[in-house]
């Protein structure tokens, strides 16, 4: 697995440096801005101007222009070169001597008076890139000396170097790096950190400098990269702690550099590039005879013995795109997130989002929906990008166009699935769940119509149960686009809901009616008719109700009438005028009956009209049943019961109207009796009951019913009337038997004896009746009268005793003693009493006799006080 993170670009070709002199080798390099300095083994310094050139293909290349070369005159290789640009000096190590040359002329700087410009016996030196000393015109340098086990700290000025500190080391140091006060040293057998200010030291880890060349490379603030045993690049900070996991490069690494987020290492034949983010090897470049690798202000420069190259990092975005192109999503994201601090915040956010979206699409293409969803969410993907993958889902009215450059390589879902229908199905299911989740979030802001329409289409196509929920709740489905789609999938009920949601209730109803009538097929709801009734029932559009009620009533009057009877009472719904409804229901007798029943029995309407209408309808029904032949007795009975119940219970209907209709009907005498009762024509009623119907139990029941809300006297009057009717009837029809009014009279007396005035009854009764016959009545009457007598005696006695008790209490109150003492004061003069003679005011308040006398004298009106009794 590799990434193309860098490109090797030649900078200084062999010809330019040495022509045909085969023995000349590059020993060291330094780059400072555009200025490139090379030190060679024949003691020359070469100065080049390095220009970046972008070729027509957009590739970066370098053109080097030789400015100068200078022989240093020491016949030894130039071991190291370091620029101190602020001083315009190059610090040179050659023949174990450190000295300064001018950056432009390359002339050796002569020693200034009072200080040397040369340090002898040096094996290696380093520049402190993070000096504690803030002076910009001096450079701090750590120097390793060949003889002593010390590190010396020098300050380098324009024309002199000055030793400022010397610290001892336990072993001979062979490589050094410097940051702040911290020296990171490679000793003979180990690495260590040494604080030259405090002298504190920290061993890092053992390492044999003899076996392998140590590497000590400062990579950032107080952080170093070290070559460790086993071919590792170890990180260590100034406290001796490793904060990053090591990278595993090769055993024979010559030098290394960091170009974030990569560690670049050079060995004899390769450049290896590891990521610091995940420690993985990312790229390997073949590079023969390499022996120098250094980074200068972020630019990594390599040199073989004969030529110089620049390792140009590819743009981060390009690297990430390469990773994505090879579907290495995780790595791409790590790289992106790792680069967060190197990119301006707003730019990073845009990049990061885009990468997340692309990553999501890659995972989507691999059907890793969970991961894809997470990345879409984090990347704030415009959902329409995803929807647009599915053919025909976006509404025609959508203004969406895919983003450019494209986020993915798919033309559409079919391209992605390559004809695999199962894949397509998976993708659709994913989109359903994804859209379902995002439609109510801010992700859908601005494209709610597109999202909801797409979701509707998917639901319809997949026969998904949430289709109805979507339509029943708040939604933004585009009507024009959804209608053909729903029709295509026979979702007529849903289509009706959509019409309704868009305020086209009429269209909705027409759709549903066609389904109920069997013109269209949609089995979504088996109770669609009831649904329509319900719908009309709670519709606020009266025209609609009038328009479609007819259809519903024709279809099923019993259920259809619910439109009117089940209409909820609420402020939002306009009330239907019952008169209008009745007019409308005119043709539908059954429904009209039900509606009137609803008005009268349930809503307790107090309008005479409705009661009469209902009673007449009941009556007509009974009459029509009676006129049928053969008669259905059961139905007749039921119809009559209803009629009778209404006639009895209601007080509002017009009795005369009904009576008029009943006048000629000899079959409905009971009803007539009831009507007479309503008119308080009890004699007529009882006459019908007793003589025409000879229905004595009904006659009795009539009396009880007609007097039920009246007082006892009224009831007594009725019963006496009944008794009279019974007894009178005796003269006309003198037949015997069970149906005999006389027997009924006896039964009546014996059963309801308590209602009658016994004395009056006895007077009325024919002489010939035996005592035995009336015994229960007489027994009860006598007993009742005895009972009443005794009860009143007891009541009298109790009242008497209560009266006595009250008298007793009163006396007790009045006979209470009045206490007078020397300590008590008179209520009138407030002086104390000195003698026992006092006058007592009402309520037992004692006062002086003279005070009262004076009071009486002063106010003649109070003269009654003198009447009060005098106690001691």
């Amino acid at each position: 697995m590799s990434v193309k993170a860098f490109e090797l670009v030649p900078a200084v070709e062999r010809d330019l440096l040495m022509g045909d002199k085969a023995r000349i080798n590059i020993e060291c390099i330094e780059c400072c801005g555009k200025h490139l300095y090379l030190g060679t083994n024949d003691c020359f310094i070469h100065h080049f101007l390095l220009d970046e050139v972008t070729t027509s293909k957009g590739k970066l290349s370098y053109s080097a222009q030789k400015l100068l070369h200078k022989y240093l005159g020491l016949k030894k290789p130039v071991a190291e070169l370091r620029a101190a640009s602020a001083l315009e000096r190059l610090i040179v190590l050659c023949d174990a001597i450190v000295f300064l040359v001018d950056m432009v002329t390359l002339e050796t700087v002569p020693s200034a008076a009072g200080g040397g410009a040369k340090i002898r016996g040096v094996t290696a030196f380093c520049i402190n890139e993070n000096p504690v000393n803030g002076d910009p015109f001096c450079v701090e340098m750590g120097v390793l000396s060949s003889k002593r086990r010390t590190v010396q700290i020098y300050m380098v000025y324009e024309d002199r170097v000055q030793l400022v500190k010397e610290v001892n080391t336990p072993e001979q140091p062979c490589a050094v790096s410097l940051d702040g006060y911290f020296l990171c040293l490679a000793l003979a057998t180990q690495y260590m950190i040494l604080n030259y200010n405090t002298g504190a030291s920290q061993d890092l880890f053992p390492y044999s400098s003899e076996e392998r060349k140590p590497i000590v490379k400062r990579i950032g603030r107080e952080e170093f990269l070290l070559a460790a045993p086993g071919g590792l690049g170890m990180f260590a900070n100034a406290e001796g702690v490793s904060q990053r996991a090591p990278v595993n490069w090769s055993e024979s690494v010559i030098s290394a550099a960091v170009c974030f987020p990569y560690v670049v290492a050079l060995d004899e034949s390769f450049i290896t590039i590891h990521s610091m983010l995940d420690q993985q090897l990312k790229q390997t470049l073949s590079f023969r005879d390499g022996h120098i690798l250094q980074d200068f202000e972020g630019k990594v420069i390599l040199a073989s013995t004969k030529a110089v190259y620049v390792l140009v990092p590819l743009p981060l975005e390009r690297q990430i795109q390469d990773l994505l192109a090879s579907h290495r999503v995780e790595e791409a994201l790590i790289l992106t997130e790792g680069a967060q601090r190197n990119i301006p915040k707003d730019k990073f956010q845009i990049l990061h989002k885009r990468i997340l979206q692309q990553a999501g699409f890659i995972q989507f293409g691999q059907l890793q929906f969970l991961e894809a969803k997470e990345h879409f969410r984090k990347g704030q993907l415009d959902v329409r990008e995803l929807i647009s993958l599915y053919p025909l889902l976006l509404p025609a009215s959508s203004s969406f166009t895919r983003c450019h450059p494209p986020l993915h390589e798919f033309a559409d879902l079919n391209h992605l699935a390559q004809g695999d229908q199962e894949k397509v199905l998976h993708c659709k299911k994913f989109l359903i769940s994804y859209l379902g989740e995002v439609r109510s979030t801010e992700v859908a802001n601005g494209c709610r119509e597109d999202v909801d329409t797409a979701l509707l289409k998917l639901y319809a196509e997949q026969d998904h149960e949430s289709l109805l929920d979507l339509l029943a709740s708040d939604n933004s489905c585009v009507l024009a686009d959804s209608v053909p789609w729903l029709e295509k999938y026979h979702k007529f009920f849903a289509l009706g809901l959509l019409y309704h949601y868009n305020g086209q209730d009429s269209a909705a109803l027409q759709m549903w009616i066609r389904v109920v009538d069997g013109e269209l097929q949609d089995s979504t709801r088996s109770d669609l008719f009831e649904y329509i009734v319900d719908f009309l029932c709670s519709s606020s559009n009266l025209d609609l109700i009038w328009k479609y009620a007819d259809w519903a009533l024709r279809k099923d009057p019993t259920k259809g009438v619910h439109i009117f009877t089940k209409r909820p009472q609420s402020k939002h719904l306009s009330e239907l005028n019952p008169d209008d409804v009745i007019t409308h229901l005119g043709k539908h007798t059954m429904a009209l009956l039900l509606y009137l029943e609803h008005l009268v029995l349930e809503r307790k309407s107090q309008k005479e009209k409705f009661h009469t209408h209902l009673a007449v309808l009941y009556l007509e029904r009974v009459l029509s049943l009676l006129s049928e032949s053969p008669r259905d007795e059961e139905q007749i009975t039921r119809a009559r019961e209803r009629l009778q119940a209404l006639l009895r219970e209601s007080n509002l209907y017009s009795v005369q109207v009904l009576l008029g209709k009943l006048e000629n009907c000899e079959q409905l005498l009971l009803e007539r009796a009831t009507l007479h009762g309503k008119l308080e024509e009890h004699d007529k009623a009882l006459h019908i009951l007793v003589h025409k119907l000879r229905d004595f139990p009904s006659a009795e029941a009539f009396c009880i019913w007609a007097s039920c809300s009246r007082d006892c006297a009224y009831r007594q009057r009725l019963f006496h009337l009944l008794l009279e009717v019974y007894l009178k009837g005796n003269h006309t029809s003198a037949g015997g038997g069970v149906g005999d009014p006389e027997m009924a009279a006896v039964d009546l007396l014996n059963r309801h004896g308590e209602v009658f005035d016994a004395v009056r009854v006895l007077r009325m009764l024919p002489e010939g009746w035996s005592l035995q016959l009336l015994r229960p009545f007489l027994d009860r009457s006598v007993r009742a009268s005895m009972h009443a007598c005794r009860t009143s005696q007891i009541a009298l006695g109790l009242s008497h005793s209560e009266n006595l008790q009250l008298l007793h209490d009163r006396l007790k109150e009045r006979k209470k003693p009045i206490y007078v003492s020397e300590k008590k004061g008179c209520h009138l003069c407030h002086n104390t009493f000195s003698e026992p003679d006092v006058v007592c005011l009402p309520g037992g308040v004692p006062v002086h006799k003279h005070c009262v006398a004076q009071r009486v004298r002063d106010s003649p009106t109070k003269s009654q006080l003198t009447n009060s009794s005098n106690h001691t």
Partner: protein, 259 residues
């Protein structure tokens, strides 16, 4: 130079030490990814950042190979907890801890806590087949089975009962581990009465089945909390204001100041 740290600075460090092939990487893997998969011998070291409540805990997985031995003390520097891992089927792995690895811990914090963990207990103990993790999939059991037990068994066993026939000899008992724990405390010059007791700090785990793995790490994290608080407290006393830390930690500060 760009700021190199990619993530938030860890608050505390936990280090896994132990001989090669005892299963340090697998333990960490099981804990962080809830899976058991083939690992290759760790080169150098690797680390994982665990978010534990409001704290970041870095867990360092070290290389057990002798070759990388020298790096151990660097990893242990400033560690708040060290997990000394051995293999219950290999006595040598326990003695290596004492001989080679104990000295590496000299660089750890003075209040560093030590846990002794006997891994691979699934090979010797049937109870270790019931993992406490509900999410241990059976599939990762079978695919790794081949690696260890195939020589003894023609077909990969599916139930603990059939496995018990090929149980390996347990070479290290919990008592051995507890004894070593006592010696570690003595080596550290720690008072046994004031340190964590051996029964609390000696674990037997199975990275393969997940047995005891979560409880190991969670117990350790709970124990290093005071160390985190102390460290934060020290940071608070420094003149540098850490903007990320100054919210809502005043009560914790008060708590830690007494110890």
């Amino acid at each position: 130079m760009p700021e190199l740290s990619k993530m938030k600075k860890p608050d505390v460090k936990v280090v896994l030490l132990g001989d090669m092939n005892v299963g340090k990487t697998s333990l960490l893997h099981r804990y962080t990814e809830r899976k058991f998969k083939d690992t290759i011998s760790t080169v150098g070291g690797a680390f994982f950042l665990k978010q534990w409540g409001p704290y970041n805990i870095s867990i360092w997985d070290t290389a057990g190979r002798e070759q990388f031995h020298g790096l151990g003390s660097m990893y242990c520097r400033g560690a708040a907890a060290i997990i000394l891992t051995y293999d219950v089927t290999n006595w040598q792995s326990l003695s290596e801890l004492e001989e080679r690895f104990l000295s590496l811990t000299d660089t750890a914090n003075h209040d560093c806590i030590y846990a002794l963990v006997g891994n691979k207990v699934d090979l010797t103990d049937p109870k270790a087949h019931q993992s406490q993790d509900s999410d241990v999939a059976s599939e990762d059991r079978t695919d790794s089975e081949d690696m260890r037990t195939e020589p003894q068994l023609p077909t990969p066993p599916t139930s603990p009962a059939s496995l018990s026939g090929v149980m390996l000899q347990k070479q290290v008992t919990p008592e051995d581990a507890a004894a070593l724990y006592g010696r570690i405390l003595r080596y550290k010059g720690l008072d046994e009465t004031s340190s964590q007791p051996a029964e609390k700090m000696c674990f037997e785990t199975s990275a393969k089945t997940g047995y005891n793995v979560d409880s190991l790490f969670e117990a350790l994290f709970d124990l290093v909390l005071p160390s985190i608080l102390r460290q934060r407290n020290e940071n608070q006393e420094s003149p540098t204001v850490d903007l990320e830390e100054c919210r809502g930690s005043s009560n914790k500060r008060a708590k830690s100041s007494c110890c």
